[in-house]
Amino acid sequence: MPEVPAILRRGLPWLLLALAAAAPAALSGYDLNLLARFMAMAILALGLVLVWGHGGILSLGQGVFFGLGGYAIAMHMKLADLPAGEMPDFMVWSGREALPLWWAPFGSATFAIAAAILVPTLVAALFAWAVFHRRVGGTYFALITQALALAFATLIISQQDATGGFNGLTDFYSILGFGLASPRTGVGLYWLTLAILCAAFVGLRWLTASRFGMLLRAARDGENRVRFLGYSPVPFKVVAFAIGALLAGIAGALFTLHAGVVSPALIGVVPSIEMVIWVAVGGRYSLAGAIVGALAVNLARDAVSSAFPELWLYCMGALFILVVTLMPNGLAGLLKGRAA
């Protein structure tokens, strides 16, 4: 297999950056918003490269952490536009008398942003520790995360008077004083998303190159070998899973700002497993690949489902089957020409 021209392999991230930087000028309001949503999803995809690619941990429940981040910001925005003490509209017609206690702190923006970052991370760390320290992993872990996604979505839907239930939370007007409707805020949020995406990319590139990344990959290839070198693989896997959840939470918060709605339909079983296919398509070991994968699959979904809706499920099914069997390293695999 002729060696891939190095400039192209290292060039991909810079190519993406150049395109992303040109986008605000080139694209209309709607398309920029669409691209910003997909870039928020790409942040989550980067987290999956660390968790699934390098850590060997298949998580089918990233939607849970995506949702936690999204709901934290949405709860703040619902309270931000209301005079103190008043309840959001859906609580009134759900027959609620007073604002639930745990809603009150979300009035402050700093608390909400801190919650959008910390809550998914802590929940993930606790859940991962509870499962990994009993040496349960692999297929079992994947199935349990899927059950977690289902249980979380069902719980949110059932507590309608406190979480907006199946409707989710929507109808926001401003964040930190910036009106969501104004195009300037839209462009500002786009740059914020791009900045966080780049920061996550650089951060993960350093982390996976460090000894932490080395040991994470070693634990992926053979847990017992790592144990007999004196390392417990559990903290490495828990920290990787927690970082994946952190990025998913941030992605959820950003997506909610762009989409103007967060609902259980984004955090259930089906969306969570589709998040994995973005990374599979892009390349589970390559950070740049995962970004391209997330953008490509979401753009394809938007294009195909507009033109011939019933075909989209066949396309998605085929993506899952073909990419995973024939292209285990995804698009990036074609580029690098060898297994990572």
């Binding site: 460090s210 000894r211 932490f212 040991l215 070693a218 017992n224 007999f228 070198l229 004196g230 920290v239």
Partner: protein, 251 residues
């Protein structure tokens, strides 16, 4: 504390390992003093590997205790036991195939294994010396930056021995270290074990008689998970019971 007890490093006391009915170890006991060399031999299925598994914590004994420097360790997780200074070489080489030879050694040589200490890149100076020294002793310096997976079988065995040394463990368990090695390499391994010096204790599991002789260490014979005989290689060879066990007659 009397002098004899002071230098008692390891005591395996009445250990039984039950694989749902099949007793790999049946009330087995063994003691090792600091600086000892011991070889454990016995026919296949005598429980030699299970003994190693039990000491290193990979298998939990259903009865009995394993005491290392006066502390009971049979209930500890593997990494805690390794951190206390016991290291083991597996029958099948346990090297990390995707990492380079040097990285394998670097991971073995690390003193502080907590995860946030692993966030730096490259090898800290303190451990670089131990890595180079280990490379030197097993003669893999030239192959230092090659992924471990591409090493020949013999070289993998050497790398793993080097990794065990790099951990600077006090008690070293070698499970058939010369499996798949030629005669020249086998004798080089014997010399290596001799050269480990008094501050290391080595327990070797093997049934390659020529290698056992080159080691010249006292021998413990195991049979069906139980202690059978102990003595110098000559005494054990002459013993009728051992010969019967090896040749397959009932003990």
């Amino acid at each position: 504390m009397s002098e004899a007890v002071a230098d008692l490093l390891l005591a395996v006391d009445g250990v039984t390992v039950d694989y749902s009915g099949f007793k790999a170890l049946d009330g087995f006991s063994l003691t090792l003093n600091r600086g000892d060399r011991r070889v454990v031999i016995g026919p296949n299925g005598a429980g030699k590997s299970t003994l190693c598994d039990t000491i290193i914590g990979r298998v939990r004994p259903s009865e009995g205790r394993v005491i290392f420097r006066g502390e009971e360790i049979q209930a500890l997780p593997e990494q805690a036991i390794v951190a206390r200074g016991i290291c083991r070489k597996f029958q099948a080489p346990g090297v990390l195939p995707t990492l380079s030879v040097r990285d394998n050694l670097a991971l073995a040589a690390r003193r502080d294994r907590r995860w946030w200490k692993a966030l730096g890149t490259g090898i800290p100076p303190a451990e670089r010396a131990a890595v180079d020294e280990a490379l030197e002793t097993v003669g893999l310096t030239a192959r230092a930056d090659v992924p471990a997976g591409t090493l020949a079988h013999g070289e993998k065995q050497w790398l793993e021995i080097a990794m065990v040394l790099a951990t600077r463990a006090e008690l070293i368990l070698l499970d058939e270290p010369t499996a798949g090695m030629g005669p020249a390499e086998t004798s080089r391994t014997a010399d290596l074990i001799h050269s480990l010096g008094p501050h290391r204790t080595v327990l070797v599991i093997d049934h390659d008689m020529s290698f056992v002789e080159q080691l010249g260490a006292p021998v413990t014979v195991m049979h069906q998970g139980r202690f059978l005989k102990q003595g110098s290689i000559a005494e054990v060879r002459a013993d009728a019971q051992v010969a019967a066990v090896y040749l397959g007659h009932a003990a």
